[in-house]
Symmetry: C2
Subunit: 190 residues, 2 copies
DNA sequence: AAAATTAATGAATAAATATTCATTTAAAAG
DNA sequence: CTTTTAAATGAATATTTATTCATTAATTTT
């Protein structure tokens, strides 16, 4: 029995992300993915039942990877503001370093590929973020508003800024990043 | 000579927006657009050379419509903070009321349809926003940071919040909107 | 070393989608 | 009212894209 080549799935993922970044989810074909991944089109169908499954699988992979990263260097014993900054930085760095993944995930949200089940599963990944912000509210450090509102406020500015600097072909300096966090904090704090 | 039916283009636009919201840009076909717009597929090709042109045309239409709305009720004589709030509200209300347009525009940005020319043209529409924020900086009312950074901070939180509430099937109450602006302002102000 | 098993291939096929065009319909001009 | 002109239609065609499958190539097992 010939074993499967474990690298292939990663190659396919990488190729798909590259193409989606380049042409958008709407413009990506199985043929192109195969070509970019240096395998035959037929081989794609050994690893994935069909296109929908390929996209869903990559989507889930990206979502899990991101959730894992968000809480790096964080534990609940850290003082709130410092903990928030840690996670804020993790979020920012993820969006910068894995821009293509973040973009892919965004695109998938409004596509015919992602199934309702896949969509539901991703929600659960973000409950820890939720708890963090609730803690800040309890300590009266952040505004006493709907937690979701606070989180979207935080995430929104990160996403938009990363997107913009990416397309402008710039880098965010350490200084700028500090300024960004200051703005976020000033917006959240009581 | 039979004249063109002026309503048809609007019908096609409306149909396209509806379908894109429902299935994403990736999943929309000319046949479906025609059906949804209650015209024959062939008729589409009287009004638009091809699919790319249809999408680009709608994209431009949406962009112009949005730019027109942003500066409603605003003139440069209004005190900065009040002027900013006016525009902030315009932005928010546009994203809420024309959610499908905003979504379509977002999706288009990463698609094979939008041409570089179309992309360039949209940039110009937002110079007034730029000037506004510069004015706030000069008056030392907002932080002395890169104007783009301030603008993306502002726009990002709006976009993300509207997206989230839309998918959660909620409405933003007057009170919540006030809270949102307060957060935005606290983030921006010196 | 031969047999068995499954991965890998890519041309062939199926399916979906964009686009065309011969025909019909409706409005305007004469 | 007739003729002219262009819109409108939707079935037919062209094109693109997903998927299959007969064949070949690698491994492992015996």
């Amino acid at each position: 029995m010939k074993p499967r080549d474990d690298k292939k799935i990663q190659q396919v993922y990488k190729a798909t992300l590259k193409l989606v970044k380049l042409k958008g989810l709407a413009g990506v074909t199985m043929g192109e993915i195969a070509k970019e991944a240096d395998i035959a089109t037929g081989t794609l169908y050994i690893y994935f039942k069909n296109k929908t499954e390929l996209i869903n699988s990559l989507f889930t992979s990206c979502r899990n990877a991101s959730a894992a990263v968000y809480f790096k260097n964080y534990d609940t014993s850290i003082p709130f503001k410092k903990g928030l900054k840690t996670i804020w930085l993790n979020l920012l760095n993820y969006r910068i370093k894995k821009f293509d993944e973040a973009l892919f995930v965004d695109q998938c949200y409004h596509s015919p590929f992602i199934t309702e089940t896949t969509r539901e599963m991703t929600k659960k990944l973000f409950t820890p973020l939720f708890s963090l912000m609730e803690a800040g509210k309890k300590q009266r450090l952040v505004k006493n508003e709907d937690t979701i509102l606070l989180l979207t406020f935080m995430a929104g500015s990160i996403n938009e800024t990363v997107k913009h600097t990416h397309y402008a072909g710039r880098k965010l300096s350490k200084e700028t990043i500090e300024q960004m966090f200051q703005m976020c904090w000033d917006g959240l704090k009581r």
